[in-house]
C-alpha cells in the first residue's frame, strides 16, 4: 500500500495538513491540533512545548506522552513577541524528511500561538477596564445576554456608585480619583464570590452580578460591602471612600432588566439618604471631607425619579 503513494506525494499532503490552520477557540484546541498532526503524521510518541511570552513571569509548558526521555528532535522559534522551544520523541528517531517537516510544524505552531495570544489580549482589552482590571460595560451587556439563556435564577444585582468622584478629581487631581476607583473596585471584588461578575459599567458605577442569589442573600452581600467600606476607611484614612449601594433581584430572564433597575433605584435612595444624613448631622462625607464641598452639577437630577 505504501508503495502506491510516492514519498513526494506523502510529503506534500503532510505539508498541506501542517500548514492549514483554522482559528482556535482555546489553547486546548491548539494542543489537540498539535497532538493530531505530530502523532498521526509523524508517529511522535511524546513532546514538550515551552512557550515564553516576554514580560510574563514563567514559561508555559505543555508536556504530553513520554516524559523524561531524551528527545530525538528539537526546534526553536522566536520573534519579538514569543519564544518557543519544542522537542519531539519517537521510538525509532526521525529521518531527514520528518525533521524538515517537523520544523515547519513547529514554525506553524509558533505563528498560531502568537496569533492566538494577540487575539486573546485584544479580547481582554475590549472587555475589560484597563484602570481597575474589571470587566467593562461591553462584557456586562454580553453577560446579561448570556444570563437570559441560563437556569441561574434568581439573579441579583448590586449597583455601587462611588460618591463625589468628580469633586475628588477636581480638588486632588485625576490620579487621586483613579486611586479611589481602584480601591473601590478592589473592595467590591473582595466582598463577593470568585464566580460573581463585578463590572465597571460607568465612570463611577459598578455592578455585581450574583447568579442563583435571592433578595435576602443579595442584601447580605450589600451589607458586607458597606461593612468592608467602613473597615477600609478606618485602615486607610488617606484614601477615604464613600459608596452608595443598592440591590435588586430578577426572578426570570424576562425580568432581568427590571432587577437591574430596581438595584439602580435602591442605590440612588441610599445615596440621597446618605447625603441627607451628612447634611443633618453636619458630619463630613468620607470622600470629600477635606475637599471642596459642592453640589453635584449638570445632568438630570435622578432623585426626581424617586
Amino acid at each position: 500500500m505504501a508503495a502506491q503513494l510516492s514519498s513526494m506525494m506523502l510529503e506534500l499532503l503532510a505539508l498541506y495538513e501542517i500548514t492549514s490552520w483554522r482559528f482556535p477557540h482555546s489553547e486546548e484546541e491548539i494542543l489537540l491540533w498539535f497532538i493530531d498532526k505530530t502523532s498521526r503524521l509523524f508517529g511522535v510518541t511524546g513532546f514538550s512545548v515551552e512557550v515564553k511570552v516576554p514580560g510574563s513571569p514563567a514559561p508555559q509548558v505543555w508536556r504530553w506522552g513520554k516524559g523524561g526521555v531524551e528527545p530525538q528532535h528539537r526546534y526553536s522559534w522566536r520573534d519579538a513577541e514569543l519564544e518557543l522551544e519544542v522537542s519531539f520523541v519517537h521510538p525509532q528517531g526521525f529521518d531527514e524528511r520528518a525533521r524538515r517537516l517537523l520544523n515547519v510544524l513547529g514554525c506553524q505552531l509558533g505563528q498560531n500561538l502568537r496569533t492566538f495570544y494577540w487575539y486573546r489580549r485584544l479580547q481582554y482589552l475590549t472587555c475589560h477596564d484597563c484602570l481597575t482590571g474589571l470587566p467593562n460595560r461591553a462584557y456586562f451587556e454580553a453577560e446579561l445576554e448570556r444570563l437570559k439563556e441560563t437556569f441561574a435564577y434568581p439573579v441579583s444585582f448590586i449597583v455601587c456608585d462611588l460618591d463625589n468622584l468628580k469633586e475628588a478629581n477636581d480638588s486632588r487631581g485625576h490620579s487621586f480619583g483613579d486611586e479611589l476607583l481602584r480601591a473601590a473596585a478592589r473592595l467590591i471584588k473582595e466582598s463577593v464570590r470568585e464566580s460573581d461578575v463585578v463590572a465597571r459599567v460607568g465612570g463611577d458605577e459598578f455592578v455585581v452580578v450574583l447568579p442563583r442569589t435571592g433578595r435576602q442573600a443579595a442584601l447580605k452581600v450589600a451589607r458586607r460591602i458597606k461593612k468592608r467600606l467602613a473597615a477600609h476607611n478606618t485602615q486607610h484614612p488617606h484614601l477615604p471612600l464613600s459608596i452608595s449601594v443598592g440591590a435588586g433581584t430578577a426572578s426570570s430572564p424576562e425580568r432581568l432588566r427590571q432587577g437591574l433597575d430596581e438595584a439602580d433605584r435602591a442605590m440612588y435612595r441610599n445615596k440621597v439618604r446618605h447625603k441627607e444624613a451628612v447634611k443633618r448631622n453636619g458630619s463630613s462625607d468620607p470622600t470629600c471631607g477635606y475637599i471642596l464641598r459642592r453640589q453635584p452639577g449638570g445632568g438630570v437630577d435622578r432623585r426626581a425619579d424617586l
Binding site: E11, L13, D36, S39, R40, G43, T45, G46, W64, R97
Partner: protein, 379 residues
Amino acid sequence: MSNGGRRVKAAWGASKRRYPREAVREAWTQVVPGEVGPSLFLCFFTPDYSPDEVFSHLNFLLYEYPSWRLAGLSTAGIISPRGVWEQGLGLLRISGEGLVIVTSMAKLGRLAAFQAGKEAGEELLAEGIRPPGTIFVFYDGYAEGITPFLWGLYGVLGPDFTYVGGGGGEHSLGKGSVQLTEGGWTTGAAVVVGVGGLETVVLAGHGWRPKASPFFVTRAEGRTVTGINGFPAREAYLDLVKERGRSISEIGIAHPLGFPRLTGEFLLRDPLRELPGGAIEFVSEVPYNSAAFLMQAEDLAAVAERVVKKAFELSPEPSFGLIAYCLSHHWLASKSTEGMLSLWGEVPYLGFLSFGEIAAKGAVPFVQNKTVTVALGRE
C-alpha cells in the same frame, strides 16, 4: 473453557439464552472455575439484554469477591469459539497473581473529553497501575470525543502501556451502546481498565487501499464533516464515489476515507450518516484540514486470518485473546469469520463486533475504523 497452565489464566463463557439472568448464569459457570488472584471480567452482550439486569446479576455474583473487577459493553454481536452471534452474552475472565486491576468510567463529550481522559489516566496511576501493563478501553461508538479522550489518557500514561479496545454501537438501529463496570452502567461513556503486570501483543489490519487522487477535508468538527474540497460534504462525497440514489450510511460502508501517515499507512474513517445542511457524520473524529483518499477493499475475508496469524507469530503462547472486529468489515466480508476462528486452538478468547477499534503498543492510540484488531495477552 480455560487454558489452565500459565500464571495468567483466562477462561471464556458465552450464552444465547434469552433471559439476562439465565445468560449471565450460564456464562458465569463456564468462566469461574479455576480462578486465581485478582480477576477481570470482560462482558460483551447484544442489545437484546437489559443492561440493568445484566449488571445486577453480574454484580450479585461478583459481590462475594471484592477484588474482582468488571468491564463491559453492549455491542452488535459477540465473537467466541462458538462463532459470531448477533444475539448473546459473553464473558472473558483474566486472572493472575500479582495483576493490579483498576477500572474507571468517564462520560464522553466534545468539550471536556481531553480532560476526562487525563483524569482517567491519573486515577489509574493513583490506584497503582504501572507499566508494563494493558489499558482496555471500551466506549460508546455514538458518543463524541473518544479521540481527545484517548489523547488525554495517553498523555498521562504514555507509550509503555498497550492500549486495546473498541466501541459499541448498533448501526442498523442508529443507536449507541451501554458501558458497565462493577460500579454501575451508563451510556455515552468510556470504560477504562488498567491491568498492571499484563503484557499484551496487539495488532490491527484493515485491508483497504487508496483509489484515485487525494482530496481535502476542508471543514470538520469532531465527527462531523461539513466541507470536502471546499464544497458541502455530502455533494462532494457523492461526486467522489460516483454513486447516487442510496443513503450515505449504505454507500459509506463500502467507501471509507483514508487519511495517510507519512509512512504510507492509513487511518480509516467510515461515513455514518447524513446530517441536515449537507454534512456527513463519521463513526469517529475526522482530522480537520486534512488530506484524504477514497479507499477500496482488498480481500477482506483474508484480513482477519492474516492479523490473527501475525499476532500468534509475535506471541506464540498467549494466555488469552481479545478481538474487536469491525461491524461493517463483518458485513462486507460476507460474515466469513470461520477461518479466523479456527486458528485459535485451545486459547480462550472473546470478541465483539465493534464500532471503532483501538490498538496501540509503543505508540499513540487512535480510534481506527474497518479493522480487525486482535490482542493476545500473557504475563
